[in-house]
């Protein structure tokens, strides 16, 4: 009975769903000649999506059919990659059919995709996953002259509704869209949510219910390609997107709900429950490791340090392991695991120590602050970290790192929403962000000018705090001495130099780590002597602002994600008998998003240059963009003029 219903459902769905689509095709879509593309859509575009129709047909909580049929005209070499087919699949997603056609500029069929030429490969070696069930089918048509058009049809059966496909028809700002269409259908007895982002004003939406099935369609068209505006992403996406989520879903035999963050968190909690038993020896070890600790932070730090030393990151994401952790016992015994496994292992160790901890799902990545939409519960996570509530302050731990201190999250997961998974369900909370007083770089440089030497000895004393030390921490904690030496001889901006000695100290606290760098370098090329003058250039410290290149007028806000401060001081000690011809002037630049001050003082035979740049995180209007550019250029111009000029001619005259 159930089967029959499903069958009739899908036949009906297909018929109904194809109705609007065939109407949509009839007019002009079957004409794939390039001349049919409106001129506006070819402007600055490298490829034109002639049509893209996607059908998401949800049959039950454990099955959906996915069909995508689309044609893309490739206009030039830069657009080639949009014509390549690349489709991932795995244990849950099976590709049931692939068809492909190649048309010339006149829309004449040239070639059909041959099944035997479709490349099929495992994703092993393409990323850092050791083992998984994900594979890729790919195909490329080759055609000697532009433009040409490729058309593909892919049919898939997906045995889960845990993650529904997203719809982002404009794959890149380099493509324009002639027409795109999404159809979503599902039984009226279930709840499937959708959310639109940045959809064009002229979106055509349809919504009806026939025979207990809900059909929704979206049609958009005439979207031009555009120049991306860097630092402008303030929302979840930067192109028209619809995301979908099924309130009641199934994942490999596990039923769950995501009608709220609470229920979705509960599902994740229950899926991973009861996997925290440890061998007896490990339990005894835990107690001996923390026997002298008085605070929760100390205990967490000691157990975390033990785990960091004794485990490594190995991701086995095969099948359900992609979502459910390996049990703590096996991670403990084998000494490796993925983010879930290592997080669960530390959680289990903490439990033995009497400390409660909650795995927290996160969308990790240095630039993915806004990926989670707090108002739309869905499976949009790619990583997990551990949250340990403490009476004074919450302790966050990145379990896949072998270097970080307990309590500090680097740029990978800081300052964003995460889903705490607890026995009471999920809670959406934010990870810590680092303000200027924590997120800073402080450089002190001392140069004692020796006018008889070619190379000058420069002493550097630098402090890197919080996010400023992220990349360095990893290198310093992992590189052997010879590689460290190579690295330090490349990291500074001097024209040519050799570091003669250096040392690093790790200081600060667990929650805001700090690296102290002490280095002495022999530097060439920043002092030029002529007959009359000596130029000492002090402009080799890099501009603290990011260079943003945009050639079209700014229409979007400028988004600065981080608060930070960079302070520099350069002390130049001159021989007593020199005459200073000129020193750089003072500068002060002030904008809502940042301030920059630079001061130069002469004190006896010393020149002291100090500068401070402070950036205020925030979303600023498009008009601030010009100021940002102005400020960037002003600081660059300053760098060029950062010369202390000594006059040697006077001295020569005196000598004579």
């Amino acid at each position: 009975m159930d089967n029959l219903k499903t069958l009739s459902h899908s036949v009906l769905a297909l018929l109904l769903v194809l109705l609007p689509f065939s109407a949509f095709c009839k007019k002009d879509q079957l004409n794939l000649s390039v001349s049919a593309i409106p001129a506006k859509l070819k402007e600055n575009a490298h490829a034109v999506i002639r049509y893209d129709s996607t059908f998401v047909d949800i049959i039950s909580r454990s099955e959906l059919r996915y069909i995508r049929k689309y044609a893309i005209t490739v206009l030039d070499e830069e657009g080639c990659s949009f014509g390549y087919l690349q489709e991932g699949y795995n244990k849950l997603v099976s590709i049931t059919a692939i068809q492909g056609h190649l048309y010339d500029a006149n829309g004449k069929l040239i070639q059909k995709l041959k099944k035997k030429d479709v490349m099929d490969r495992s994703t092993f070696g393409m990323d850092y996953t050791f083992n998984s069930d994900s594979r890729i089918k790919s195909y490329r048509f080759a055609y000697p002259s532009f433009p040409y058009t490729v058309e593909y049809e892919i049919r898939e059966t997906i045995k889960s509704t845990f993650s529904l496909p997203d719809w982002t028809p404009q794959k890149s700002p380099k493509c324009s869209i002639e027409k795109a269409f999404l159809s979503l259908s599902y039984p009226a007895s279930t709840i499937v949510r959708e959310k639109e982002y940045l959809m064009p004003a002229q979106t055509d939406r349809n919504n009806r219910e026939i025979d207990g099935i809900i059909f929704k369609t979206w049609t958009i068209g005439g979207l031009s390609s555009f120049e991306p505006q860097p630092f402008s992403m303030a929302g979840n996406f930067n192109m028209p997107t619809i995301i979908l989520a099924a309130n009641d879903f199934e994942l490999m035999g596990h039923n769950g709900s995501m009608d709220s963050w609470k229920s979705f968190g509960l599902f994740n909690y229950e899926l991973n429950q009861g996997r925290d038993s440890l061998p007896l020896a490990a339990k005894n070890l835990i107690h001996s490791l923390i026997k002298d600790d008085t605070s929760t932070l100390q205990k967490v730090q000691d157990l975390y340090a033990y785990m960091q030393k004794n485990t490594r990151y190995v991701a086995d994401e095969y099948g359900i392991s992609g979502w459910q952790t390996f049990d703590a016992n096996s991670v403990c015994t084998k000494g490796y695991g993925d983010c879930k496994g290592l997080t669960n292992y530390l959680k289990a160790m903490l439990k033995e120590a009497g400390i409660t901890a909650y795995p927290s799902l996160v969308n990790a990545g240095k630039d993915d602050y806004y990926r989670i939409d707090p108002k739309f519960p869905a499976n949009t996570f790619n990583h997990v970290i551990l949250c340990i509530p403490d009476s004074r302050d919450t302790i966050w731990v990145e379990c896949t790192s072998q270097q970080l201190p307990a309590g500090y999250l680097g740029g990978f997961t800081q300052n964003r929403f995460v889903l705490l998974t607890t026995e009471q369900g999920g809670y959406l909370i934010k990870t810590p962000s680092y303000e200027k007083d924590k997120n800073y770089l402080n450089r002190q440089v001392k140069i004692v000018y020796d006018n008889k030497a070619d190379a000058q000895l420069i002493a550097l004393q630098n402090e890197y705090s919080c996010l400023m030390q992220d990349d360095m921490l990893y290198l310093l904690k992992t590189l052997p001495e010879d590689k460290k030496q190579k690295w330090i001889n490349q990291k500074f901006n001097f024209p040519s130099y050799e570091v003669v000695n250096y040392n690093y100290q790790f200081s600060g606290t667990n929650k805001s780590p700090l690296i102290l760098e002490n280095a002495k370098a022999k530097v060439n090329g920043f002092i030029q002597k002529s007959n009359k003058r000596t130029f000492i250039n002090l402009g080799w410290l890099p501009n603290p602002m990011e260079k943003i290149i945009q050639t079209t007028p700014r229409t979007k806000p400028i988004v600065l994600e981080k608060d930070f401060r960079i302070t520099d001081s350069i002390i130049l000690v001159l021989p007593p008998d020199v005459t200073i011809e000129s020193v750089p002037g003072n500068t002060e630049l002030q904008f809502p998003f940042a301030t920059f001050t630079q001061q130069v003082q002469k004190q006896g035979n010393q020149v002291l240059l100090t500068s401070k740049y402070e950036q205020n995180a925030g979303i600023y209007g498009k008009d601030d963009f010009d100021d940002y550019q102005k400020m960037y250029r002003a600081i660059n111009a300053e760098k060029e003029n950062l010369n202390v000029v000594l006059s040697t001619s006077i001295k020569m005259n005196q000598d004579h």
Binding site: R121, F124, A142, R312, Y313, P495
Partner: protein, 666 residues
């Protein structure tokens, strides 16, 4: 009969090897069979042979046994881990295999010390996984358990191939230092293999197997009666205390330096005293691919289908060079390289009809068309960087991974590659300039294509004037003409997109107070013409009494490319540099030049590297001009010259940082 590997097939392997894993590494019978020695090594945390080592290969042994056309290859290694980095690098083992390869007897063990006791943990059978990567390539993969800094790991596996050619080569040297490395081959005497070894110490031939142990590099050969009507020849190489092979910039690929032994199949001896040489010489190999192969003969075939096109492209009355450039441009511009199509049978007629083909098809088609036009053109095979060049004594066509076309006009050879859209006539990709190559023709000549054939000639012309309209502004106009190699690099990124080019050039433009007012790019997609960039920029002149100006608006180097103070390997440049910069400066009326960059000539290694700054000042007209040049006339600098080379760059950069000083006149 001989399979020709193209670059793209190689690509799949690269992906497999790029997995952050060192496949093939295991241990020593000596150490793991002796509990005391294991314990002693577990307690060690420092090895005097290399204080920077993150791991030490204590023992490794390879064994190839060939019998009844089954080649069995056993590998085992024991590694002491010294850093957490090494845990991640060697703890995961992945062994790529072909579709017809059996993999057997896989084992992995970790040794740790806990409370003063040695703890042994074996890998679970269930944790040894197989991954079918593509139709033809699989991988066996596993993780050693409970690894940490201090652990010792041991693993071994045996691969079984159904073949009698292709006895594996053996590297004695790795990214980590090696204490002991042994390779043994046992081959029936009716197969003739020749070996070629490269070690820092020559192998000593010893008479008795046990004498191997006393030597740092020794080889022992032993013949015994085999099971059938033949003898087995067993050769054992032993090499001890080999330092790690470290990376350096401006260095040739690892293959060129690794200590190793290569084995080469050269013939068969069906019965005593008879030898049928098979791959004895390149001449023989060439003859074979032309006689029995079905690929190269197509370049020499009549190919009547080309006649009309060739006649149209290269009319009889045009010169040979005109004919060649016309045909070359036609193939390069109108044919597309199929990157995922190496499996099909080569058919030039089909290539010509569809205008698509892989590397060998396109360059063989080019050769064939040039020949059809009556020109002296031949295909050339080579091995690209970072691989070793083809070996002149070791003819192995499988070492060749690239094919080009050569045409000889008026006693001059031109090297052509029509598969790359942005290569001009007569220029190859930089990785092709890798020395020894073979011409596939009846006589089978060799030739060398060296980076010294290739100079990257960049010309920069800058002029600085007071703006005619806006008098308070100083205006910079700069024209840059890029050399072949720099232009190739840009064109491959820009892919004919002028907007992209401009955007990137804008982002690279950084001249302090000078603000870019316009930029234009010419010939982005036409490699036969020079890539030209035109910049215009301006800055406020202001009203200062003294102005300091840069004289080098596009310095040859901003930072010294030779950052390391010490050097282990010779410096190899990809091509010869040739930079030329001229500045013409009409000094504003209100100012006069007080100082300018010093006239200077730097020479290194006689004239092999040369830098000059020449200045000319005309005080009457208040004009200043400067010409700066940098040229290299070699691409190789021995280690002993490194300090001098580094200092040469240091001085050149310092010289280009010198300023012009203007002071207000009167």
């Amino acid at each position: 009969m001989v399979r020709f590997f193209t670059k793209n097939l190689f690509w799949i392997w690269v992906i497999v090897f790029q997995y952050p894993v060192i496949f093939l590494y295991a241990g020593t019978e000596d150490i793991i069979e002796n509990a005391d020695s294991i314990k002693a090594y577990l307690m060690m945390d420092n090895f005097s042979m290399d204080n920077n080592a993150e791991a030490i290969i204590l023992y490794e042994k390879g064994n190839t046994f060939l019998q009844d056309n089954v080649l069995s290859y056993k590998v085992e290694r024991t590694i002491k881990i010294l850093s957490q980095n090494a845990v991640n690098q060697v703890g995961t083992v992945a062994v790529p295999t072909g579709s017809r390869t059996n993999i057997k007897k896989v084992s992995g063990i970790t040794y740790n010390i806990e409370n003063g006791e040695t703890v042994i943990q074996k890998i679970d059978k269930a944790d040894i996984l197989k991954d079918k990567i593509t139709r033809n390539i699989s991988a066996l993969k596993f993780n050693l358990p409970s690894l940490k800094a201090g652990s010792i790991l041991h693993y071994s596996f045996t691969l079984e191939y159904f073949t009698f050619i292709g006895v594996p080569n053996w590297n004695f040297q790795h990214e980590y230092p090696v204490v002991f490395s042994e390779y043994q081959t046992s081959i029936p005497d009716y197969y003739i293999y020749t070996d070629l070894s490269r070690t820092s110490i020559p192998f000593i031939h010893v008479d008795k197997e046990k004498e191997l142990n006393g030597q740092a590099a020794a080889v022992h050969v032993f013949t015994a009666k085999g099971p059938g009507n033949y003898n087995m020849l067993t050769t054992t190489w032993v090499r001890k205390n080999i330092p790690a092979l470290r990376k350096e910039p401006f260095r040739l690929g690892d293959e060129n330096y690794l200590e190793r032994v290569k084995l080469h199949f050269t013939g068969i001896a069906p019965y005593k005293g008879s030898v049928i040489p098979l791959f004895k010489s390149w001449e023989q190999v060439t003859e074979q691919v032309l006689k029995d192969g079905d690929i190269f003969p197509q370049a020499y075939a009549g190919n009547g289908f080309l006649k009309d096109k060739v006649t149209a492209l290269a009319p009889a009355k045009s010169s040979e060079l005109e004919k060649a450039t016309s045909i070359f441009s036609y193939v390069r511009n109108n044919f597309v390289l199929e990157s995922n199509n190496d499996e099909h049978k080569v058919n030039l007629h089909h290539t010509f009809d569809t205008h698509t083909g892989n590397l060998q098809e396109l360059n063989l088609l080019l050769t064939s068309m040039l020949r059809k036009a009556g020109l002296n053109s031949e295909p050339v095979i080579l091995s690209t960087k970072p691989h070793e060049p083809l070996n002149s004594f070791f003819p192995n066509i499988q070492d060749a991974n690239y094919i080009i076309s050569k045409v000889r006009i008026d006693d001059k050879d031109y090297y052509l590659d029509a598969s790359q859209k942005y290569l001009p006539f007569g220029i190859l990709l930089p990785e092709c300039y890798n020395g020894y190559c073979r011409i596939i023709n009846e006589k089978g000549y060799s030739m060398n294509i060296n980076p010294s054939h290739l100079a990257d000639k960049n010309i920069i012309l800058a002029s600085l004037n007071v703006d005619q309209e806006k008098e308070k502004k100083l205006r910079l106009v700069m024209d840059v003409k890029y050399g072949n190699m720099t232009a190739l690099g840009y064109r491959q990124i820009w892919k004919g997109d002028e907007q992209k080019a401009k955007k990137e050039l804008r982002s690279l433009f950084n001249l302090g107070s000078f603000q870019l007012t316009s930029i234009s790019v010419k010939n982005v997609s036409d490699p036969d013409k020079s890539l030209l960039i035109h910049y215009e920029a301006e800055t406020e002149l202001g009203d200062k009494n003294i102005i300091y100006l840069t004289a080098f608006f596009d310095p040859f180097f901003h930072q010294n490319p030779f950052t390391a103070v010490n050097r282990t390997f010779p410096v190899n440049l990809e091509y010869e540099y040739d930079y030329n910069y001229t500045l013409n400066f009409q000094v504003p009326d209100a100012y006069k030049i007080d100082e300018y960059p010093k006239q200077r000539i730097l020479k290194f290694d006689s004239d092999l590297m040369y830098f000059q700054n020449l200045v000319d000042i005309n005080e009457n007209k208040n004009k200043f001009s400067l010409n700066s040049k940098f040229e290299t006339h070699t691409t190789i600098f021995p280690v002993e010259e490194y300090t001098g080379l580094r200092s040469f760059f240091e001085q050149m950069i310092a010289s280009q940082n010198e300023r012009i000083v203007l002071i207000k006149s009167n």
